[in-house]
Amino acid sequence: MSDNRNIVRWIRSAFGFDRQSNGRGDPLKILVPLVSIALALILGMVVIAVSGRDPFEAYALLFGDSGLIPGSASWKREFAELLLKTALYSATGLSIAMAFKAGLFNIGAEGQFWVGAIAATFIGYWGPFAHLPRVIHPAVCILFAMLAGGCWAALAGYLKVKRGVNEVIGTIMLNWTAWFLITGWLVLGPMAPIATKFISGTYYIAETAKLTRIMPPTRLNTSILIALVAAYATWFLLYKTTIGYEIRAIGHTAVLGMEAPRAQGINVNKRIVQAMFLAGALSGLGGAFFILGLQFQFPNTAIMGYGWTGIGIALIGQGEPFGVILSSLFIAALRTGATSMQVAGIPKTFSNIIEGLAVGFIALQVAVRFYLVKLMERRRLRKAAPESKEAV
């Protein structure tokens, strides 16, 4: 029994709705995303039905082949793809959640992802590192990818505290800089192999730099494990360390220009730069996942969209590290399953619509919250009996 209690308490604190980290323990924090997702799925059904297709069939395909539900012959492969995507999305999701906690909007996860990817590529093929042993080499690549992404983001943090450049502007600016630097120069010039008829993009990384596959014959690799560790580390940092305590205090007082943390002697500027660095490092980790686990070189078209996906994921995950993992899983499932819907002649747009709706409802969470509170209030009145403590 007490064991059970401990698990429940741990899960609550992991998702940030225990009393300790969140005052009066906010059940809405987990209800809002669930209700938003449910609403999105219901509305998605309506959309599919309106387009003249069977929504049940569509969802059967969508979730049947999402890798979430074991059983079918192709499950193992889909499961592998699901987890690969989860890892990839959770990296930028964590990045944006991290920045949210410090009251910053890191719209530059996209660029930090590229910078991390290009750094991982470079360390992956560069001569002096090319003969590192199997486990060390990807670790070094990841380290440098995180450093590069982190520094890239810290630059935006620095501009914010020293020059008063809003981080949204700063990171967008840096996105463009990264874009031109990488796709306009590095990939074409210094990092591209000598002109050849058969290849585009940069050099390929060495065999030793690739992430180890953990479920052959699928291409599932260690990225999902690293992502889980990263989520745990982010959670630990935010909720168990002094840096996290200060970062969250800054985040709570950032919006209205309050200065309580500063008055208590907290070095707000330093922490903002550090929070941006950490956010950038997490995005850079995503870039490393992409290069070391999937692409093995930086292609000469840009890798688009992971930063933007991360924003939606951080929103659905309510900015909590483990919430981000779950919402990544959800989005990854939608995207994995979307392939099967296409085979059945249902365009991939529908999974995009469901995804968009879920994020949309989260963005409307003020409204969702309002109605949920109303609903709960009404139920409480009707029962006219005290709610069990369990529901809190």
Binding site: F56, F63, E78, A302, G305
Partner: protein
């Protein structure tokens, strides 16, 4: 907590029930899979062309907007051939019975391998087509894994990641390449004749090998018919890369800059980015101001979504035909692995008449036709490398 778990349980149960009712397809049809690159359906260019070869020409089906197919009428079938393959009338393109296309669009780059694998493992496709350079690694990996399935790769030959040499042929993988430099050469020759300002612009997407070949041929064509507009080592031709195949505003912006600096004939090899070029030409006044655009890959002069009135000609690359040919080889049992390069000789590349007749004299058009014959005969070989030194060193024919 308890409530929450029960909600999750219900969701899981419902999902399990759903999975039990998958539909089975009729077994007689030959399934041909196709995986697009991230451009996907509706790029007006490369992916659409490949899908036309499979869906329209081979399977004789019409894609229903939103998903699914309906049968195509004979009239529509003839119209498609007339619009897109006027130069292929002698190739005997007819519908192939029992072809069922299965198309997967890729949302992002990590989808290539799972999409190809899904078609091979779950859908039981006889042949799977990977459209475009970006799928090179993925197609090779999956083809190796599924030796019983045939694969077709368009525009690329898989290369070794260490030596960068082409990888050994697989018996179940056929790669189709095109002599883009040949059609690029012809439209370059037309551009050289058509320009009044002796300023010609080129917009590249991303410098991948096929795009480089277009550029090299285009420059050589200009060098042949108009050395002034070519300048020293091609320096007089404005050559700009957008570094993207999908950045339409960027394409427009580049074209506007080129027009502002006096260029009157613009050519793009930039996929959807190039749509912006036509927009810029249209806004700048088009043929009324002496401005013409040259399209790429397909006959864009037939595409009402672009700017047919301002399309001088197009460098055509019959991806659609290559897909048709590969599909036919499955039915005819003539499929062999290896590399097939399509050229002017076999109708794989060509140029579209569009408005050439309005700008060039009959004599000039005859000269272009001459150059075409010379390439087929092998007396003219356009270069493949667009580097200024390489194009500068290339010797243009003097009599044609």
């Amino acid at each position: 907590m308890r409530k929450l778990l029960s909600v999750l349980l219900v969701v899981a149960l419902v999902a399990v029930v759903f999975t039990g009712c998958k539909k089975e397809e009729p077994a007689t049809a030959i399934k041909i899979g196709l995986v697009t690159d991230v451009g996907g359906r509706g790029d007006q260019s490369f992916n659409d062309s490949a899908m036309r070869g499979l869906e329209t020409w081979a399977a004789k089906k019409a894609y229903v907007q939103g998903g699914g197919y309906s049968d195509l009428s004979d009239a529509d079938y003839a119209k498609s051939l007339e619009d897109y393959a006027p130069d292929l009338t002698d190739k005997g393109i007819v519908a192939i019975p029992n072809i069922q296309p299965v198309i997967l669009e890729s949302k992002s780059q990590e989808d290539y391998i799972p999409n190809l694998t899904k078609l091979a493992a779950d859908e039981g496709c006889t042949m799977i087509i990977g459209v475009g350079f970006m799928l090179s690694d993925a197609v090779y990996t999956v083809a190796k894994e599924y030796p019983g399935t045939k694969f077709m790769l368009i525009d690329a030959v898989p290369a070794d990641p260490v030596t960068y040499a082409p990888l050994p042929d697989l018996p179940n993988l056929v790669c189709y390449l095109f002599k883009e430099e040949q059609c690029g050469y012809l439209v370059g020759a037309i551009a050289g004749m058509a320009t009044k300002t002796n300023k010609i612009g080129y917009i590249g997407g991303v410098p991948v090998p096929p795009v480089n070949r277009y550029q090299a041929g285009f420059l050589a064509g200009i060098k042949t018919t108009n050395p002034t507009a070519f300048g020293k080592n091609g320096a007089a031709v404005s050559q700009v890369y957008a570094n993207s195949f999908i950045d339409q505003p960027k394409g427009k912006q580049i074209a506007q800059t080129q027009i502002a600096s006096g260029a009157d004939i613009l050519f793009h090899a930039a996929g959807a980015t190039g749509n912006g070029m036509f927009e810029a030409i249209k806004e700048a006044g088009g043929p009324g101001k002496g401005l013409w655009g040259i399209g790429v890959d397909v006959d864009m002069g037939k595409n009402p979504n672009l700017y047919p009135d301002g399309t001088l000609t197009c460098a055509i690359k019959h991806v659609d035909y290559s897909v048709y040919m590969a599909t036919k080889s499955i039915v005819d049992n003539t499929f062999t692995g290896g590399v097939i390069t399509l050229s002017l000789l076999d109708g794989g590349v060509g140029w579209a008449a569009d408005h050439v007749g309005d700008v060039l004299s009959a004599a000039q058009i005859a000269q272009i036709e001459n150059l075409r014959q010379m390439i087929i005969a092998g007396t003219v070989t356009p270069p493949e490398d667009p580097a200024p030194a390489a194009v500068g060193a290339w010797v243009a024919p003097t009599s044609y």
